[in-house]
């Protein structure tokens, strides 16, 4: 399978601020790839480099097999972009803007345009200044989704949309994936990522800290186990991968790295298990762990 986006070792600084510090990112053709990270991690900077709006200081980026800086126009013919904060011309109607963007890309599918306007419940006759934030977002979304392109770059595209419209958006992205299009989706809405994304990359401080399928990533995190045993537990604290062990008589609560679960279960079953609950890691925990690490590091530096 060819890759829609390959990025390796990307660096970008603005004056003394380092926005990207060795970013790696691989997006396979035909997948929906989640792009996550705390505020200020460099997500939007990375997207702008992929659009050829910013020039990387070092590292390589290929979009649809081309250099996004040098071949910007050729690349742009095959991609559609939705920013997280859409600004419109105050005296152009939404319909005019949708058609403009469509024509400026590779063309617009008229039937799909009409269908999307209907599904997003957008009034295309309003002027740019009269739209709310969510409706401005819809204008850009309709223009992108109705465009005849191979790759969608969506930078927090649902900001300002109501839950019903978020649902419409998710269905649309699934349709895009079924049609073989590639989507890079930067988002903070974890349920959205969980439902839509085949793989995710998490970035922090301009560097990729985790990349893989959600199943892979889950594997890296902790499962919480609580059990009531027939006899006193023994040897749990010596097991590898066990954290936050809390033993109160015969009741045991602990966190264990998911790939070390076998050892814990064996050790628990020796005295005999009366009851057992095990909670798999949620996506929230996965992200919060990464996000928190950054805060901890930041605080550590501050001190």
């Amino acid at each position: 399978m060819t890759r829609a986006i390959t990025v390796s070792g990307l660096h970008k600084s603005f004056g003394r601020t380092r926005a990207l510090a060795g970013l790696d990112l691989d997006v396979e053709t035909g997948e929906v790839h989640g792009f996550l990270g705390p505020n200020g991690a460099g997500k939007s900077t990375a997207v702008r480099v992929l659009l050829g709006l910013l020039r990387a200081d070092a590292g390589t980026a290929r979009v649809l097999g081309r250099d996004p800086w040098r071949d910007a126009v050729e690349v742009h013919r095959r991609i559609a972009y939705v920013p997280g904060d859409v600004t419109l011309w105050r005296n152009l109607s939404g319909g005019e803007v949708i058609d403009l963007y469509g024509r400026l890309r590779g063309g617009l599918d008229g039937r799909r345009r009409a269908e999307l306007i209907d599904r997003f419940e957008l009034d295309p006759t309003k002027k740019g200044h009269a739209y709310s934030k969510g409706n401005r977002q819809k204008v850009a979304l309709v223009a992108a989704l109705a465009s005849d392109v191979d790759l969608l770059l969506l930078d927090e595209p649902t900001s300002g949309l109501d839950p019903l419209m978020e649902e419409v958006f998710r269905t649309c992205v699934e349709e895009e994936r079924d049609r073989g299009r590639t989507v890079l989706l930067s988002s903070h809405i974890l349920s959205e990522v969980e439902r839509l994304c085949d793989r995710v990359s998490i970035i922090r401080k301009g560097r990729t800290v985790e990349s893989g399928s959600l199943a892979d990533l889950r594997h890296l995190t902790l499962t919480s186990v609580s059990a009531e045993l027939a006899g006193p537990p023994d040897g749990l604290s010596r097991l590898p991968g066990v954290h936050d062990l809390d033993v109160r008589g015969r009741r045991v609560r602990l966190q264990v790295e998911t790939d070390k679960l076998d050892g814990v279960l064996r050790s628990l079953s020796e005295p005999g298990v009366r009851s057992l609950t095990s909670t798999p890691p949620t996506l929230e925990e996965l992200f919060l762990r990464h996000y928190r690490e950054e805060r901890a590091e930041r605080n550590g530096v501050a001190r």
Partner: protein, 533 residues
């Protein structure tokens, strides 16, 4: 809540937060306002010295005043003169233009802190604080008042040597014109939803005030025409600074500002945040715009049409004044020297035509800067980003706006030439040539604006500074008898003085080449740099 309401008087609740907003406004204007005020004050305060150089003796000044009394064209341009003192001549020569500058600065300040804030959505967050309904408007008017008061103080102090009463009347009169247009901008900013439109409409009223005063003054020699009295710019001359001041005229400024201010407050109290009183219309559900060029034209066509109408009208008006103007200057050695420095040595009619076409060229430089900086506005507002994320190359995007900037400058100068043909009717081809010969210098200013935007985008607004500097060199330089190298700093200083003078292709081609080089360098720089998101 009810206890609060009981304790605080109503007016103070409506004004809550004014002090903080005023501090914010002054902080945001900490560069522009002092520059406006200083440039305007310098222009006024340089006058007495210049006039003393040109008309040193009372006899010379008396001769000038006598000629002015009989020349309608010159009165239309500058206004009538009421006394032979240096002070009265200063108020005459600088009055209309200093007042127009104060009016422009005041209206820009008010719109910037009212409708601009509202349109951008910034006011919404501000207004959600403990900020009274009238506070933003009050802070904006106070910010304009601070600027106008500073101007009044500088002018009054600087001219006090010519007579304290006259200096005071002139300074306060300038500030009065400023505040009339500040409060007018406050009214218009309540009506329109767009700050650009509010600025345009108020500026159009300022233009109309200029035309009314000019028409009135060409009809009567003492400012007594009803048309003159309709224009706030006419009130300033009727205040008669340094010529037995008519202090009661200051009451007109006060009444006008108070009435307009009251209307603005009444409107502001009745309407919703972000809304105007002029209704919006829906647009088409589908569009035909399909290229970067079509988009640029759609965004700039209103501006191009406005400038075109203005230049055509200016050509007609100045063309109509041409015959009379030459008669006036004829007899005074000093005035003739100024005109010749501005316009060349070949007959006064030609010199007048040359200085007027030159002035339109200087103003066209403002158009080209505004048009080129549309690129900057599109980029900083975030509207350029999604367009450039489509299959639109940067160069094509930039070229679409530059075509309108540079092509538009040709169009408006052509229309000015046509206007002269209508208003003056003689020398049609030479006058058209005189209009077009300005273009290479206009283009150089456009090239500088592009280069600034492309290479140092944060400094792009400095292009306005360049245009204003060129305007001042061209306008005030000849009157001040500025050294040749100063006049040479402006590209307009190198143009042949047409009509009448000899056409010199050397400087024209050099300036054109320079403009091409600036544009090329700008485009090369734009290709290499990061775009702001």
């Amino acid at each position: 809540m009810s206890t609060l309401a009981a304790r605080t008087p109503r007016y103070s609740r409506r004004l809550a937060g004014t002090a903080a907003l005023l501090r914010l406004a002054l902080r945001r204007d900490r560069v522009t306002t002092p520059v406006w005020v200083a440039v305007n004050a310098l222009m006024v305060l340089s006058m007495p010295g210049t006039l003393r150089n040109l008309y040193g003796t009372t006899a010379e000044r008396t001769a000038l005043v006598d000629q002015l009394a009989t020349n309608a064209a010159f009165r239309a341009l500058i206004g009538p003169v009421f006394d032979t003192s240096v002070g009265a001549l200063t108020a005459w020569r600088a009055g209309v233009y200093a007042a127009a500058l104060a009016a422009a600065a005041s209206l820009l300040i008010v719109v910037r802190h009212t409708r601009d804030e509202e349109e951008s959505g910034r006011l919404e967050l501000v207004a959600s604080g403990a900020v009274g309904r009238r506070a933003p408007l009050t802070a904006a008017l106070l910010a304009a008042a601070v600027a106008d008061a500073a101007l009044a103080l500088l002018v009054a102090a600087g001219l006090a040597g010519q007579g304290v009463g006259g200096a005071l009347a002139f300074g306060i009169g300038l500030a009065g014109v400023g505040m009339v247009f500040a409060t007018m901008a406050a009214v218009v900013a309540q009506l329109t939803r767009s700050a650009r439109l509010a600025r345009g409409l108020t500026a159009a009223v300022l233009g109309a005030a200029f035309v009314l005063r000019a028409a009135g003054d060409s009809a009567t020699g003492d400012g007594s025409s009803a048309l003159t009295w309709l224009s706030p710019l006419g009130w300033l001359e009727n205040l008669r600074p340094f010529a037995d001041e008519r202090w009661w005229v200051l009451g007109l400024f006060a009444v006008a500002a108070a009435v307009q201010g009251a209307v603005a407050y009444a409107l502001a109290g009745r309407r919703d945040l972000g809304m105007g009183l002029l209704p919006g219309r829906p647009g088409p559900p589908a569009g035909r715009l399909g290229t970067a060029g079509a988009l640029a034209w759609r965004l700039q066509r209103g501006g191009v049409l406005g400038w075109s109408a203005g230049f055509l009208l200016a050509g007609v008006v100045y063309g109509g004044l041409t015959d009379g103007a030459a008669d006036l200057v004829g007899d005074n050695e000093g005035a003739r020297r100024i005109f010749e420095r501005m316009g060349g040595h070949h007959g006064l009619t030609d010199a007048f035509l040359a200085s007027m076409t030159g002035m339109l060229g200087l103003i066209a430089a403002l158009y080209v800067v505004a048009s080129v900086l549309r690129l900057h506005g599109e980029e900083t507002s975030g509207r350029a980003e999604p367009v450039l994320a489509c299959a639109v190359g940067r160069l094509r995007w930039a070229a679409s706006h530059l075509t309108i900037a540079f092509g538009g400058s040709v169009l408006i100068m052509l229309l000015a030439g046509l206007g002269f043909a209508v208003g003056y009717g003689k020398e049609v081809v030479p006058v058209l040539g005189a209009c077009l010969v300005q273009l290479p210098a206009v283009w150089v200013i456009g090239g500088v604006a592009l280069l600034l935007y492309a290479v140092a985008p944060r400094l792009a607004p400095a292009a306005w500074g360049v245009a204003v500097a060129v305007l001042l060199i061209g306008w005030v330089g000849p009157a001040l008898d500025a050294p040749r190298f100063v006049l040479g700093l402006s590209p307009f200083g190198h143009l042949p003085k047409l009509p009448g003078g000899k056409m010199e292709w050397g400087p024209v081609l050099t300036l054109t080449g320079l403009a091409v080089a600036l544009v090329a360098a700008g485009l090369a720089g734009l290709r290499r740099r990061d775009l702001a998101g």
